[in-house]
Amino acid sequence: MRPRDGLAAQDAIARLLADYHPLPGVADELLDQTGRIRPVWERFMAHLAALPPEELSARFARGDQYLRDAGVFFRQYGDDNSSERAWPLSHIPVLIDEAEWNTVAEGLIQRADLLEAVVADLYGPNRLVGTGQLPATLVGRSPEWLRPLVGVPPRSGHHLHFLAFELGRGPDGTWWVLGDRAQAPSGAGFALENRMATARVFAELYAEANAHRLAGFFRTFRDALHGLCEDHREPRVAILTPGPLNDTYFEHAYIARYLGFMLLEGEDLTVEKGHVMVRTVGGLMPIDVLWRRLDAAFADPLELNSGSRIGTPGLVGAVRRGNVSLVNALGSGILETRALLAFLPRISMALRGEPLRIPNIATWWCGQPVERAHVRANAARMMIGSALSTRLPFDLDSATGIGGQGRGPEEIDAWIESEGPALVGQEAVTLSTTPAHVDGRLVPRPMSLRAFLVRTARGWEVMPGGFARIGRTPDPTAIAMQRGGSAADVWILGPGPTQSVTMLPEPSVAQPRLKQGALPSRAGDNLFWLGRYIERAEGMMRLLRAHHIRLAETGDPDAPLLTYLDRHLGDVGLDPGQEIPDGLRATLSAATSSAGQVRDRFSTDGWMALNDLSRTARRMAGTARAGDDCARAMGVLLRKITGFSGLVHENMYRFTGWRFLVIGRAMERSMEMAGLLAWLGAPDAPDGALDLAIEIGDSVMTHRRRYAAATTRETVIDLLALDGMNPRAILYQMGEVRNQVALLPGADVNGQLSRLSREVMRLHTDVATQLPEGLDTDALLDLRDRLFDLSGLLSETYLG
């Protein structure tokens, strides 16, 4: 900045701050008590003020576009449904000075060590209870104290490997821990996405702002998980997710891709001889470390919650035998108990002889008379709620509320007296505010910050950044995203350039490469069915287009050829009376749902193309009219679906998963064509049926070029069934199946073909040696049945 611009710049900053008025009694990240911009923000504010409003909007849009392109979403739960929502990024990052952050980090490391000591005691000697440091009732009553894990030491020697702390800044400027996340902390992946987007919004500034990069932390984390494996040369780490309906599933899929870990669900795993194994298309493969994103109670229906349908029976047994490391250990969730916050300060003194460097939010357990009296006397300024809840203080539920939420003072008294041991009072939090850009203005909004720690061989390491939640209104309780809050990036700014680290491997580090065949069977199954559904939808579109073209040409829905075709439509589940039949939309949504199960193996472009397809079909269902209009609509859908197929063919790496997708598609196409030819090539089919087959088979021009003569049953069968060069023909597709099956794991064992390979070979040969006259309707239907059986055999071999 040149000196003579200084004044103008000051004016610009002043204009930017015209509507920025922190509330009295609340700390603000940007402005100090005298209203001056804090040093750590100066450069950022100057940059921001220099951007014209339209430029700023364009940049915000660029960040949002990145998030949309990356497919970032979160799942919002309504009263009776849930939906995927666009990621609510608050574009202005939270800036924190490196020196201050280092102090915070030291405090968090101290706390992480303390939590490890507490959880080790609770599942070990239980001295904290024995000496009265912790009330026995609190532990014994907690649903998170998992009795089957008592007395089971973790294989790694530690219960905790990855932690998060929710932090807030109080009115006097000091940081407070609002809650500990030890069960399955989420947010680190979202922090990374917030960073990617925010770095695009403020690209030049970010490049020179001396903000600490996040990639190093993730590499440390990956190395730490690899380090927990028994065999370091072949690390077998996977992420265990509850599945696509979980509110943070995107993060699970994203971070699995980013770190190169398998993403597994409980049913992907089985326990054999006390070892955790993943079911892959290449057979059972051992798993050494599970980063679980699933609450422990649901992890094993045999020994934990028997109602769980997302767990792995026998997992606890494998842990007990010391054959797997869980990050974090099953049972760590007890550390999230709200009431524990009332005791940690004293436990820190008792166990480690030192006070907490960062205090936690003041908490009083109402199971003790003095504390109970205190909460009663100060109820109006407290959040009173379940002592055993593991929710964060601002995740208010029906049973929690400031001042007891709508209860009169006498009611509160009675409540506390009757249910004392089940309740805690917590000081109502006043969070600091930070700038948010709302409707073109900069305004202060309450903020809480989630920090992440990973255990390394050398101790805890703190992510130099974090995940900030920004309130929608000045009300600090409206900060949860489920309640309309947003998320922001956190920049830790140093005095000089920070070391830039990427996830790219250093030359000296041997990069373990996962074996081919490490495709979980469930993922293979979903890809196979994705291929089938996509092809089925395409076939339906072609049939419907042919129907509507005929309808438009003849104008007579009762024409013999049309009614004949409509019977086939009915056979494949389409109601010709509907413009965009439900059967087509159901097939498209089945494809989307299969793809949704394998988001970690699927490009974002492919995912969006698929969603676009469903959306378009849904929109058309309301407007398209029978005849010409519908024929055109089908043309649009066909172009979109071929676009998707193109992505699959041109861009997907030839992993085993891709092969299953391609096999599914080829099998479906062969079955469809066999059925179509059996129907339209039948002796009693009306005039024009053979030409219709060529049209639906997309081979009009080829037929004209290859056969000078008129259309006969023989030419049609030759072109659509027996032609090895026509991608629409059964023989061609069978060749594709044969080629891909040969490349699957276990296709031949010691030179011997597997049963599946043999069957594929036999079927291919049978088709290849057929003559058109031999392939009559019965033979075609028989061929289709054999294809059904083949699909079943494939599932049995690889996907069951």
């Binding site: 009265g132 014994g140 009553r141 089957p148 008592v150 001889k273 006390g274 028997s306 029976p313």
Partner: protein, 295 residues
């Protein structure tokens, strides 16, 4: 008293199960001073692919078995010899019911026998106002904890009807109580809910009853199958006592303990995860015969 215990449980599936994993709690317990497992054998047919033994948090024996092959029937057999010791007479040295809370509050242990595990709702036993009111109506000011346990157990025996058709293994205590009908499992879980509702730690016991009574005494309800009853904590001095609400008696030499827990879920004899398509049926037969006593 020495017993020979024989039990057979069979499960039949309409369509073969593709595999399965079960946690079995079927072997009688070893309880110092109370019961001794002289010998015990649990056999499983067809032979499982894997079998391993464990002891759970509450000290119960567990056997985990895994089937990998198709099977349409499973049979579990227990052959055991158990010695049951005479317990001290039920002299009531328990504190007043109103004083129990103070003794519990002093308790600083979460050992398996700690009353603190047995005081609150558990997965299958949730005290309700109806059950707690019922329990309160059967105690009086100044009653001792032990007398309160007896009074509530007797009242239940009187007001409940034994009915093997009214409930299933999944029925919750409050549902069975609403119907005033059920089997030993329901009697036990209702009584546990009531005791917890008035602040008496109470747990669930699974086990066997001797098949034929001593001469001149009536045959006990539940002797043909596995049985269940209640244990209640009656203060520091008296400790745990066991009461059988289905038969209205304080447990002594006629009962053989298999497992103890907070409710049925902690001790379920066969906890299984398997993939089956059709229905299943099960049968069980139990014989508990005193050894060498001429019965």
């Amino acid at each position: 008293m020495l017993y020979d215990v024989g039990m057979r449980i069979t499960y039949s599936y309409d369509r073969p199960a593709a595999g399965g994993r079960h946690l079995l709690r079927l072997l009688p317990a070893d309880l110092p001073g109370q019961q001794r497992l002289v010998s015990g054998l649990l056999s499983v047919s067809p032979a499982p692919a894997e079998r391993s033994e464990m002891v759970d948090f509450f000290g119960n024996y567990g056997t985990e078995i895994i089937f990998r092959d198709l099977h349409d029937e499973i049979e579990f057999r227990v052959d055991a010899r158990v010695e049951r010791f005479a317990e001290p007479s039920g002299l009531d040295i328990s504190p007043p019911l109103s004083g129990l809370a103070a003794e519990i509050a002093e308790y600083r242990s979460l050992d398996p026998d700690s009353p603190l595990h047995f005081l609150w709702s558990s997965a299958r036993v949730q005290p309700t106002p109806e059950m707690t009111d019922y329990a309160r109506a059967h105690v009086f000011d100044g009653i001792t904890a032990f007398s309160a346990v007896l009074a509530i157990g007797r009242a239940l025996f009187r007001d409940m009807e034994f009915d093997a058709e009214a409930t299933t293994v999944e029925t919750l205590a409050k549902e069975a109580f609403a119907r005033r009908r059920g089997v030993c499992q329901d009697f036990a879980q209702i009584m546990i809910a009531m005791l917890r509702g008035i602040g008496v730690p109470a747990g669930y016991v699974s086990g066997f009853l001797r098949t034929n009574p001593p001469p001149g005494q009536p045959r006990l309800e539940g002797a043909d199958a596995m049985h269940a009853w209640v244990r209640a904590w009656c203060g520091r001095d008296m400790g745990w006592i066991e009461f059988d609400p289905t038969n209205d008696l304080v447990v002594s030499l006629d009962h053989i303990v298999i497992a103890r827990g907070r409710d049925y879920g902690d001790v379920s004899p066969v906890r299984g995860i398997l993939r089956i398509a059709g229905d299943q049926t099960s049968e069980q037969a139990v014989d508990v015969i005193p050894v060498g006593a001429g019965y």
